[in-house]
Amino acid sequence: MLDLLQHLALGFSVALSPMNVLMCLIGAMVGTLIGVLPGVGPLATIAMLLPITFGLPPVGALIMLAGIYYGAQYGGSTTSILINIPGEASSVITTLDGHQMAKQGRAGPALAIAAIGSFFAGCVSTVLVAALGVPLTSVALLFGPAEYFSLMTLGLCFAVVLARGSILKALAMVMLGLMLSMVGSDIETGQSRMAFDIPELSDGIGFVVVAMGVFGFAEIMRNLEQTGTRDVINAKLSGLMPTWPDLKASAGAIGRGTALGAVLGILPGGGAVIAAFAAYTFEKKMSKDPSRFGRGAIEGVAAPESANNAAAQTSFIPLLTLGIPPNAVMALMVGAMTIHGIVPGPQVMSKQPELFWGMVASMWLGNLMLIIINLPMVGMWVKLLQVPYRFLFPAILIFCSIGVYSINNAPFDCVITAVFGLIGYWLVKHDYEPAPMLLGFVLGPLMEENLRRAMLIARGDPTTFVTRPISGALIGLAVVLLVFAALPMIARKREQVFVED
């Protein structure tokens, strides 16, 4: 315990010099401003702003990077809530209730709760990272391919269960997402799969392309239908800050989300995404009135935002102990750290303690900066919603187009995004939800890889998924979840059938 306090004290003494605080502030501001642009998610933002940090001394650079990281993540949440465009995979869940809240004039509280929840989760997880780094790694090592596959299956079941509509359709959407993720090159043989010799597809369809199309463009197409009765403008803004009842309702959600995120973030690969989905599902199941979810329940914003921030923090543990970055954003941060002299791995904690603990402290600082900058700015973001839609949507469209183009300088990517926009429009018209599809799409490659490895290790024996204890437990949980979710539906359908006659 004393050790922990000493480490943290060292870290904070490094992080809290006035120059470094200023760096963090600038990083957070710039990160948020760029992250808020609809075409540009956290990954692109960090990639674009990374060069700013090159000229700074290592500690200062890392602190600015931490500020940029949090700013970018928060910018992604902002677009999820305000215009229903998820900046990265773990923001998909935030769009569900966050955007509904925005449509009801409660964008301010939604944004504020996202910031507050994230901050709380960040605080708790930073302490966890500091205290439990090494022991928790051994837990992560218990997870083999079979366990990962089962965990992701569980994650997909969360996505199915949290769907507002029919479970059958959500399952179908998950399958569609899984199938779409197979486009590209096979990971083991390099063979081109379903890419029809189109070079831009040889690496698969990018997440940004699908998310931008299915969420962003489809949403615009849908909003354009209702000339004159647009939800986004008409809702009267009812206050910028969460009310006391809001805070009370979210408190539990934030706590539970933090716990889930902290646990799931330790597992390298997909942790933050699954954590966000799991937290949302958990809140929905635990709530007294589950039908509120998907229609603007504030817990539906608080829980996933806390979960993905907690997971993002605890994902530092496998990063620093095993050297495995859990997702692309973290991989970029690792690259940045390497440039500034930190090579992630077990020795970092012992050989460069001031850098390591300084970094841990700076992540906390970045989180704090976020609250400081963004809570006052909530008003400004919300004002954006009141711009007449005929000016807003061309701006969103062009930012998205340029953003998608800038990923690979490939115009064809924009065409694919437009196709996904039409697909998203069709999905909406037929009452299919895009969120499960996105999760299937994100987890697909990982699931396939782990499935293949697990089968290879088990020599083709599919029972390995249930005979290995952790894996069996996870699959069991998934089945139980599905059954519980399907039961009320079956009961209702039976009634329906009898009423139908």
């Binding site: 179908a172 197979m182 083991e188 354009l224 187009s401 009452d431 089968m455 290879l456």
Partner: protein
């Protein structure tokens, strides 16, 4: 049952076979997608012994998707549900046009012209836009984007055509890549 005073037998509800069109046609499209995926992956090798081949997982997922599509279509036949919501043409058409136009023009004509024309096309998606407003807003937005992306963010994008020669531009327009 509805009140039926005269004792005349009500005609049987000869509603269509499809009682929930939205579900039915939705399910059918999913089945079609699954079949398409099966066709697209037909040349991929499957399982070899107990090792997964490149084609195994896509085919697996496609089959499950097809089965689920059939199930959804079945609910469309067995239960009553809403009809297909009206598909608007103008919005999606102009949005798609705007994006495709941008993709087509950005390489040969540069960011400025492509963005400008793309924004103008997007404005056509709603009857609310007025010509002068639209042009002014397009100029403002284009200027902002042309500052933000190439300069502020240092992204490698060309603002103007490399070569103002008409023949080169036309050649560049003839391919989307």
């Amino acid at each position: 049952m509805s009140d039926n005073v005269g004792g005349v037998p009500e005609p049987r509800d000869r509603g269509s076979f499809v009682r929930a069109p939205r579900e039915f046609y939705g399910g059918l499209v999913l089945v079609a997608l699954a079949l398409f995926a099966l066709w697209a992956s037909r040349d991929l090798p499957g399982m070899r012994g107990f090792a997964f081949g490149p084609g195994t997982a896509p085919r697996m997922f496609a089959i499950v998707l097809g089965a689920l599509g059939v199930a959804v279509a079945a609910t469309g036949v067995l239960t009553k549900g809403p009809g297909i919501d009206r598909f608007y043409v103008r919005g999606p058409l102009f949005v798609t046009l705007s994006v495709v136009l941008f993709a087509w023009l950005v390489r040969p004509l540069g960011l400025a012209i492509a963005s400008f024309l793309s924004i103008l096309a997007a404005a056509g998606a709603t009857p609310e836009s007025r010509p002068l407003e639209t042009i002014i807003w397009a100029v403002v937005l284009t200027a902002f984007c042309c500052f933000l992306f190439p300069y502020a963010l240092n992204l490698p994008m060309q603002l103007w055509p490399n070569n103002w020669d008409l023949a080169t531009i036309l050649k560049g327009l003839s391919t989307i890549r």
